[in-house]
Structures are given as structure tokens and as C-alpha cells.
């Protein structure tokens, strides 16, 4: 099943990861069965990914994050949103982020 991210949905980092900003990159280690696997499962975010990660607070929708980043990088919001949806889908697939359900 292909996981897709929704622009109107809110996402937050999963509790089963360790994320550290080290030497200008965000390094994310998913914890699976009590093991943080740097050998097969390590995930690293570049500068744009890092900016996205910092805005991923479990309150803003992906569309809101895209608008903020479009202003920051002076780029077309549609393009930023497309990139963010792609990245969020990848992070969802790896269970690095979860969708926050609104009640």
C-alpha cells in the first residue's frame, strides 16, 4: 500500500525515533524492536529537509509549512508543496512521522 501525505493534514515526529542535528544535518534513527539501526535504517535530511523538520510541530498542516518555506526560500508555493508532500510520504513510509488526528 502506497502511503500518501495530505496537504491539509497535520504530522508530527514519531515517538519511536531519535533525531539529532549534527554537523548541519538532521540525522534520524528509527527505533525498531528496541534497536536504533544506523546500518540499514539511518535517514538524513539536507538543508531544506531540515527546515521542514523544524516546522513539523504537530500543529501546522503541510500546506501551512509549505507556505512558510516558500516565503523563506522565495520559491513558488506549489513547487515547495509538491516537494514537501514527497518528503512527508517518504517519512510516513519509514514511520518517522505520524499523522496527528484531530478529534
Amino acid at each position: 500500500m502506497k502511503l500518501t501525505a495530505k496537504a491539509g493534514a497535520v504530522y508530527a515526529p514519531s515517538g519511536d525515533i531519535v533525531a539529532r542535528e549534527i554537523e548541519g544535518e538532521i540525522i534520524i534513527v528509527p527505533l525498531t524492536a528496541g534497536i536504533g539501526d544506523a546500518e540499514d535504517d539511518l535517514f538524513s535530511l539536507n538543508e531544506t529537509g531540515r527546515a521542514f523538520w523544524k516546522l513539523l510541530d504537530g500543529k501546522k498542516t503541510l500546506a501551512q509549512i509549505a507556505r512558510t518555506l516558500a516565503e523563506k526560500y522565495d520559491a513558488p508555493p506549489a513547487r515547495i508543496e509538491k516537494d514537501i508532500l514527497g518528503l512527508a510520504a517518504e517519512l510516513l513510509k519509514r514511520r518517522i512521522i505520524n499523522e496527528k488526528k484531530s478529534f
Binding site: V29, I35, S44
Partner: protein
């Protein structure tokens, strides 16, 4: 993030893939241990050959309340260099450990407890788990293995010398 691998030693081979520097690995180990989880990564270097070979995948677990003891293999911060090493405890005293690589001529010396990052609990080579004595399941075999491994480098040197002499002696015309 393609950096020198952990446990870097001069002249060793470098992996072409995604590898992390020793300071990054140390930080990640501590972060993962804070969550009570173990950390799995690729070892580099030959200081623990044959127990751990370069490119073996090792798992370092938090010590929690466990006290390291003779024979345990620990990951630790070098007290003087920004380096992480994975070597064996030869003696344990009150909150300090005399540590040496199985394949190193010299010991690392007494390492204080605060430099210890964790205990090696699993070693995988070419995708297969190696026999590794585990504190959670001690056995006579594991104790024997622990005692034997620090002796392996000098024993191997003697065997290699003997083998070479034997080959020299058996060469035709000698």
C-alpha cells in the same frame, strides 16, 4: 554526512557507503540509549580481530545497572582523543576498567566509567549473527570463549611462525 568511520585507525580501509564519523556515532549512541534502546552500526578497524572484524555490524546496548566485567567488550570514548573504541575489559575495578583491543599490542589503559558508552551485545558478519556471549544468557561456553579471546593474538602469532617454519623446512632443495 560521509565521514571517517567510527573507531578510525590510520591506514584502514574506508567504506564507500554512508558512514558516520566517530563523534556522530557517539552522539547517536547516547541519544538512542537515553530511550533505552540499543544502537546498531558498522565497526571499522582491526583492533578486535578476529572477534570483531572491520565491517562487522555490532550492537551496543546501554549498561543500565550492569557493571562491566572481565571479558566484556565495551564501546567507550577515548579519554584523550575524539575517538570511539570498541575493546575488551581485562580488569575491572571500582568505576574504572583496564581495556585493550584483542589485536592491539598495547592496552588503552584504565578507562573511567563515565567514558563507557555501552556493552557490545551482538556481532553480525556478512548478514549472519556471530556467536557472542550475552550477559543475559551466561553459560560455561561463553565464559570459556571470553577467557580464550584475549589470548588469541599471541597464540596466533606463535602458530603463524610455526607454520612458516614448517613451510620453509618442507620446501624442496632445503
Amino acid at each position: 554526512m560521509k565521514k571517517n568511520p567510527s573507531e578510525a585507525e590510520p591506514g584502514e580501509d574506508r567504506d564507500e557507503g554512508f558512514s558516520l564519523s566517530a563523534p556522530v556515532i557517539m552522539e547517536l549512541i547516547e541519544a538512542v540509549h537515553e530511550k533505552g534502546a540499543s544502537f546498531r552500526f558498522k565497526a571499522k578497524g582491526y583492533s578486535m580481530t578476529p572477534a570483531i572484524r572491520s565491517n562487522d555490524v555490532i550492537t551496543v546496548s546501554p549498561l543500565n545497572d550492569m557493571m562491566p566485567r572481565r571479558g566484556d567488550v565495551l564501546a567507550f570514548r577515548h579519554p584523550e582523543r575524539p575517538q570511539m573504541l570498541v575493546h575488551r575489559v581485562l580488569h575491572a575495578m571500582a568505576r574504572k576498567y583496564f581495556i585493550k583491543g584483542d589485536n592491539c599490542p598495547e592496552a588503552d589503559g584504565w578507562i573511567p566509567a563515565e567514558n563507557i558508552l555501552g556493552l557490545i551485545t551482538k556481532v553480525e558478519r556478512q548478514g549472519k549473527a556471530r556467536f557472542w556471549p550475552n550477559r543475559s544468557a551466561p553459560s560455561f561456553g561463553s565464559n570459556y570463549y571470553l577467557l580464550f579471546y584475549p589470548l588469541w593474538p599471541p597464540v596466533r602469532r606463535v602458530l603463524v611462525k610455526a607454520w612458516r617454519r614448517l613451510r620453509q623446512a618442507s620446501k624442496p632443495g632445503k
